[in-house]
C-alpha cells in the first residue's frame, strides 16, 4: 500500500528523456516516478502549467563551520529578512532568518519554495564534516551532500611527495567514507602552506613549488586527485576551484588546469571567477570567449558558471588568500580567517556587487557571456556560487536574464558602460534560453554531472522530486513561485502554499578501500591533529536518512 499521484495536462520539460514541452502524464508511487498508476488515483491538474524535475544545485555554501561563522558575523544581514514560522495548526515549521546566509531551516524551505529539491554544499574540511551533517539534519525538505576539501591536505602532500599513489587512493577513499561526503574538492591547491606558514603568501603558477615540499606543485596535486577519483569511479569527478581565483589574467591558469587532466573528467566550478584577462593588480578584461570555446571543444570538462548578481553577497571560501585580497576592495571592515589543522584555510567577508563598479559589472557580464557562448548546456550549468556571487534566491532573476533578451539589454544599459564595452558583441548576445535549456542548466545537467541517476529527470525510477510552474511571461515571477512542488512524492507546495514538511536525505559515496590504510593515517592524525584517530570518522547515526550513490565499480 503506497501513496500514488498523477500529474495530468501539464507541459513536461524532461530533457534527459527527450521530452520537450509535450503534454504528458507523470505517475508517482511511493516517492518514485512510475510508468502507470491505477486510474482512480488522485490527480493534480497541471493545465496551462510547466512540469519539470526538481532543481539541483551543484555548488552552494549552505551548511557547516564557515557558513555558520558567516551567519554569526552578520546580524545586519538577517534582521531585515526574517522567515516566520507558519501557523502551528496548519503545518509545524521552524522560524529562521534569511539574508545572504540564511539559517538552516530557512535554507531548506526557501530552496523548496523555489522548486529546488537537491543542493550540494561545496567545501567542507573533513575534520568538520560532523558539523555539516549536524546542520543538514536541520535543513528540511531538500536532499543534500557535500564535497570534502582535499587540495591542501598535509598527509596527502606527504604521500604525493613520496609517490605513494596506491596509498593516496586508499586514503582518499577512507576519507570519503569517514566523512560521508560526495566527492573531493580542490580549492586553490597548494595555497594553504604559503598562507599559513609563510606570512600570508599564496601560490600563483601551476608549476610553482609548494613551500616545504620540494617535489610538489599545484599541477601534481590536480593530476593526482583527478586520477584518484577516476580510479575510485566516483559518480562526480574532482570539483576544482582553480588557483588565482579573481585575479586579472587568471584565464591562463584555468586553461592550463583544464589541459593538465589529459582528457580525464573534471568539473571546474564558478568558472566566471576564473575567466579574466589583463595583468595582475590591474583591471580585468573578459576572456570568456576563450574559456567557453575550450569547454565547447572538450567534452571531458564540465563547469558551473558562478554568476555574479548585483546586491549583497557574502564571500566565503576555503581560499583564504583570496578573501584577504578582497578586503582591499570591500568597504566592510569585517574579515574572517579560519584555519583548519592539516586540511584547509577559510576566509569570509561581507560583500556587495554594484552595477556602477567596473569590475563588478564586468564579472556580471562575463558570467552571461559564458552562458550565451556555451554550446552544450549539459556541461555549463547554472550557479551563483551561493552566496559568493549572489544568493540562491536570485536564480529566478538569472533565469529571466537568460531567457529574456529585452530584459538583458535593459540591464546591460544600466550598468557600468566601460565594462559592457569590453564584452564581445555578436549574434550570441541575441540568444534566448528556451525552457528546455533552462531545465538542462538547472536540473538535468547538474544531476548528470553529479552522476545522480535518480535526479533531474522524470522517467520511471526517478525520485518524485517535481516542480510545477504557472506559465508566465515574466520568467522571474514564474521561477520564483511554483504552484506545486513535490519532494519524494510528498506535496510540499500545494497551490503556492507550504503545506507539508519533509526531511530530505544525505547523498554520499562509499568507495571500497584497503583497511590497512588506517595504519598509515592513524599515526599522522595522532601526531598532528588534536583529536584521536578513533574519534575522527563520523558514525552512522549522523545520517539517519541517507542514500549511498554507487561508484562505477559498485
Amino acid at each position: 500500500m503506497g501513496s500514488t499521484l498523477r500529474i495530468v495536462n501539464g507541459r513536461v520539460y524532461d530533457p534527459a528523456n527527450d521530452v520537450d514541452g509535450k503534454t504528458r502524464d507523470i505517475c508517482i508511487k511511493d516517492g518514485k516516478i512510475v510508468k502507470s498508476v491505477p486510474p482512480k488515483t488522485k490527480c493534480i491538474d497541471a493545465k496551462g502549467m510547466v512540469v519539470m524535475p526538481g532543481g539541483v544545485d551543484i555548488h552552494c555554501h549552505i551548511a557547516g563551520a564557515k557558513a555558520n561563522i558567516a551567519r554569526k558575523l552578520q546580524p545586519d544581514d538577517h534582521r531585515r529578512d526574517v522567515h516566520p514560522r507558519l501557523d502551528l495548526k496548519k503545518v509545524n515549521t521552524r522560524s529562521g532568518t534569511g539574508g545572504t546566509v540564511p539559517s538552516t531551516f530557512t535554507t531548506g524551505y526557501r530552496y523548496a519554495t523555489m522548486g529546488y529539491t537537491t543542493a550540494m554544499e561545496a567545501a567542507v574540511p573533513p575534520l568538520l564534516a560532523r558539523h555539516t551533517l549536524d546542520e543538514f539534519e536541520d535543513t528540511p525538505v531538500i536532499d543534500k551532500g557535500f564535497y570534502i576539501l582535499m587540495g591542501n591536505n598535509v598527509l596527502l602532500y606527504q604521500m604525493l611527495q613520496e609517490g605513494r599513489h596506491e596509498e593516496i587512493r586508499n586514503a582518499v577513499a577512507w576519507w570519503l567514507n569517514a566523512t560521508k561526503s560526495y566527492t573531493t574538492k580542490l580549492v586553490n591547491p597548494g595555497g594553504d602552506e604559503p598562507w599559513k606558514g609563510h606570512r600570508n603568501a599564496t601560490i600563483t603558477q601551476l608549476n610553482d613549488k609548494i613551500d616545504g615540499y620540494e617535489q610538489l606543485t599545484p599541477r601534481k596535486i590536480i593530476t593526482s586527485m583527478v586520477n584518484t577519483v577516476e580510479d575510485l569511479g566516483l559518480p562526480h569527478p574532482v570539483h576544482i576551484h582553480c588557483n588565482n581565483l579573481g585575479h586579472s589574467g587568471n584565464y591562463k591558469t584555468t586553461l592550463e588546469t583544464m589541459k593538465a587532466t589529459g582528457g580525464r573528467r573534471i568539473h571546474i566550478t564558478h568558472i566566471q571567477f576564473h575567466s579574466y584577462g589583463g595583468k595582475p593588480n590591474e583591471n580585468p578584461t573578459s576572456k570568456a570567449p576563450q574559456i567557453a570555446e575550450y569547454i565547447n571543444n572538450n567534452s571531458n570538462i564540465t563547469a558551473d558558471v558562478g554568476q555574479v548578481m548585483f546586491g549583497r553577497s557574502t564571500s566565503m571560501t576555503a581560499d583564504a588568500p583570496l578573501a584577504w585580497m578582497l578586503t582591499r576592495y570591500s568597504n566592510d571592515r569585517r574579515w574572517v580567517n579560519a584555519d583548519t589543522e592539516c586540511e584547509s584555510g577559510c576566509g569570509i567577508i561581507p560583500f556587495a556587487y554594484q552595477e556602477q563598479v567596473y569590475t563588478h559589472a564586468l564579472q556580471w557580464a562575463i558570467g552571461l557571456e559564458l552562458f550565451l557562448l556555451s554550446k552544450d548546456p549539459w556541461r555549463m550549468v547554472l550557479s551563483t556560487d551561493h552566496p559568493n556571487g549572489g544568493t540562491f534566491t536570485s536564480y529566478p532573476r538569472l533565469i529571466r536574464t537568460l531567457m529574456d533578451r529585452e530584459f538583458r539589454k535593459q540591464q546591460m544599459d544600466s550598468v557600468n558602460q566601460k565594462a559592457v564595452a569590453k564584452i564581445k558583441r555578436g549574434h550570441h548576445m541575441e540568444r534566448e534560453y528556451t525552457l528546455q535549456e533552462i531545465a538542462i542548466v538547472t536540473r538535468a545537467g547538474p544531476a548528470r554531472i553529479l552522476g545522480l541517476k535518480n535526479k533531474g529527470h522524470l522517467g520511471p525510477g526517478a525520485d518524485a522530486d517535481i516542480t510545477i510552474y504557472d506559465e508566465h511571461e515574466d520568467k522571474e515571477l514564474m521561477f520564483s513561485a511554483p504552484r506545486y512542488v513535490l519532494k519524494s512524492g510528498h506535496l510540499i507546495i500545494d497551490n503556492h502554499e507550504f503545506r507539508n514538511n519533509h526531511e530530505g536525505k544525505i547523498l554520499h559515496v562509499a568507495p571500497g578501500y584497503d583497511e590497512g590504510i588506517k595504519d598509515v593515517i592513524r599515526p599522522f592524525v595522532e601526531d598532528f591533529y588534536t583529536i584521536k584517530f578513533d574519534n575522527y570518522a563520523v558514525s552512522d547515526h549522523y545520517i539517519p536518512r541517507h542514500e549511498v550513490v554507487p561508484t562505477a565499480k559498485q
Binding site: K72, K89, G197, H198, D534, N535
Partner: protein, 458 residues
C-alpha cells in the same frame, strides 16, 4: 564504540578508550576510563587532568526522584505535564543554559522555544558574549587548536588562567605540545602572558606583562597603533602600567613571528570595556596579518558552550540572546539576555537546561526566578533546581549520554558514554515536553496568534 570498548567479564570491569571529558572547553578526547559496572563507578580516568578526574571519579548516580514538582517527588510524566502547562500558558518564557549538554538537546531546546515564542540565551552571555558581539563588528582571524600546535611560534595568553581553568591547554595545544613545525615543543615557541596579576599560568611564560586593572583596552589600542607605525605617547605607561619599550618589544615579536596566536579569557570579555576589549584584541590579530599569520581566539570554559553558540546560530542566525515573540528570531543582547530578562522581571516562566544561574546570577535575577514557575533539567539538585516549580533529574552528558559537543575552536566531537543511567537524557525530556506543548497549542481554542496566548497567562 566497538573495538574501543573491551569488557573484562570476570570483575565486570569495562574500559572505554578515547572517551571525551566534558569538564572544560578543551574537550580532551583521549580519556581511558576504567568502569566498575557493578558499582556503577568510574575507578580510573587515565589522561584526565585534576578537573577531569574530579568529574569522572566523583561521578555517582544519586537516588533521586525523576522529577520534583514544588519540591515533592513526581513521575517523569507528571513533570512533563506540569512543564508543558507552564510553557503553553506563559507569555514571555525565558530559556537559559545549554553549555553542559549535548548539541542534540540544544537543538530540541531551540525548537521548543521557537514553538512557544519565548526567549533563549546561553551561558555565553555571561562569558564570551561580548566576544560574539565583537566578532559582529570586526570579524576574526582564528584557527583550530591543531594548527596552533603545529605552527605557532609566538603564543600570547591574555586575561585568562588556563593553568587552573583549562589544565591541559599547555600540554595538548599551545606550550609544551609537539607539533609539525614545533618539534622541540616549548623551545620552538615564545610564550607571553598578559594579566593584571601573577596567576598560576605565569610561570610557564617567557615574558610576563602586568597590565593595570581596567587598562587592557588602552594597552591593546596602543599595540595596534604601534603595529601600524603610529606615534604613542610614553605617558601610556602611567595609564597601563606597561612601558613603551615593553610594548615595542612585544610588537616586534608579533610582527616577526611565523605564526602568532592571542588566546584571551574572561579577563578581557567580562571586565571594563567588554566587547570593546574583545574587538580590540581581534582587531590587533587581524592587523598583524599585514606582516605575518596571526590568530586570536577566546578560551571557553564549559564543555559545550561553543556548541550552544553554534547550534543557536545555525537555527536562528544569531549566537545568543534570541527572542521569538513575533514568530521569528530577533537578537538583542541586553534586552534578550537571561540575567537582564530575569533582573528586570520580564520573564513570566523559565526553563533552565544544564546550568545553575541560581548560584551565580545577580540577586535581583534570582529573586525574580523565585517568583515565577521555573523548569530545571540537571543531573544534580542545583540551587536553581531547588527554587524550581519542576525539576527533572537527567542523565549526565558524556558519561551516561552520547551525542555531539563542540570544542572551543569549533571542532565537533562525538561523546562516548561509559555508564548507563536510569534517568532520561536532557534531549529526551525536552522532546517529551515539546510533544505535549505541541498538543496543547494545537488543540487550544480561540487563538488569535501569539497575543491571545499571552492574555491567558497566569
Amino acid at each position: 564504540m566497538g573495538a574501543a570498548t573491551k569488557a573484562k567479564s570476570e570483575a565486570n570491569i569495562k574500559t572505554v578508550e578515547n572517551a571525551t571529558c566534558t569538564f572544560c572547553g578543551c574537550l580532551c578526547d583521549d580519556m581511558v576510563l576504567t568502569v566498575d559496572m557493578d558499582a556503577k563507578k568510574i575507578t580510573k580516568a587515565k589522561n584526565a587532568c585534576v578537573l577531569g578526574k574530579a568529574l569522572f571519579l566523583s561521578h555517582e548516580e544519586e537516588d533521586r526522584p525523576f522529577a520534583l514538582i514544588d519540591g515533592k517527588p513526581a513521575t517523569l510524566k507528571e513533570g512533563v505535564e506540569e512543564a508543558a502547562q507552564i510553557l503553553a500558558n506563559a507569555r514571555f518564557p525565558m530559556f537559559y543554559g545549554m553549555s553542559d549538554t549535548t548539541c542534540e538537546a540544544q537543538r530540541q531546546n531551540v525548537a521548543l522555544v521557537d514553538m512557544v515564542g519565548g526567549t533563549i540565551d546561553s551561558t555565553t552571555s555571561v562569558c564570551h558574549g561580548p566576544t560574539g558581539m565583537a566578532l559582529q563588528g570586526v570579524g576574526e582571524s582564528t584557527a583550530t587548536l591543531g594548527e596552533i600546535k603545529n605552527r605557532a611560534d609566538l603564543v600570547i595568553y591574555w586575561g585568562g588562567n588556563p593553568a587552573e581553568s583549562l589544565p591541559r591547554h599547555f600540554a595538548r595545544y599551545a606550550v609544551t605540545a609537539k607539533g609539525m613545525y614545533t618539534p622541540n615543543r616549548k623551545k620552538d615557541r615564545t610564550i607571553v602572558n598578559v594579566d593584571v596579576r601573577r596567576t598560576k599560568s605565569v610561570p610557564v611564560a617567557d615574558i610576563f606583562i602586568q597590565v593595570k586593572i581596567g587598562a587592557d583596552f588602552e594597552l591593546l589600542w596602543a599595540l595596534r597603533a604601534l603595529v601600524k607605525g603610529r606615534h604613542v605617547d610614553p605617558n601610556i605607561e602611567k595609564r597601563t602600567g606597561v612601558s613603551l619599550e615593553t610594548m615595542k618589544d612585544l610588537v616586534e615579536r608579533m610582527k616577526n613571528c611565523r605564526y602568532g596566536v592571542l588566546f584571551f579569557g574572561m579577563g578581557l570579555s567580562m571586565t571594563r570595556g567588554r566587547h570593546f576589549n574583545s574587538a580590540a584584541i581581534l582587531s590587533l590579530a587581524s592587523d598583524l596579518n599585514e606582516y605575518t599569520h596571526f590568530i586570536a581566539t577566546p578560551m571557553r570554559g564549559h564543555g559545550n558552550v561553543a556548541g550552544a553558540d553554534i547550534v543557536v546560530s545555525w537555527q536562528t542566525g544569531y549566537p545568543f540572546g534570541v527572542n521569538f515573540s513575533r514568530g521569528y528570531p530577533k537578537f538583542n543582547p541586553g534586552e534578550f539576555t537571561a540575567t537582564d530578562m530575569f533582573a528586570r522581571g520580564d520573564a513570566d516562566a523559565g526553563l533552565i537546561l544544564a546550568s545553575d544561574p541560581g548560584s551565580n546570577f545577580t540577586q535581583a535575577a534570582i529573586d525574580h526566578m523565585k517568583k515565577i514557575p521555573m523548569i530545571v533539567l540537571d543531573p544534580k539538585l542545583t540551587h536553581t533546581a531547588k527554587l524550581a516549580r519542576v525539576a527533572f533529574t537527567t542523565s549526565h552528558y558524556g558519561i551516561n549520554t552520547g551525542g555531539t559537543a563542540y570544542r572551543s575552536d569549533g571542532v565537533p566531537i562525538e561523546l562516548r558514554p561509559c555508564l548507563d543511567s536510569k534517568y532520561p537524557s536532557d534531549e529526551e525530556v525536552i522532546r517529551a515536553i515539546y510533544k505535549r506543548v505541541e498538543q496543547l497549542l494545537k488543540t487550544r481554542k480561540k487563538t488569535k496568534g501569539a497575543n491571545n496566548k499571552r492574555r491567558k497567562a497566569a
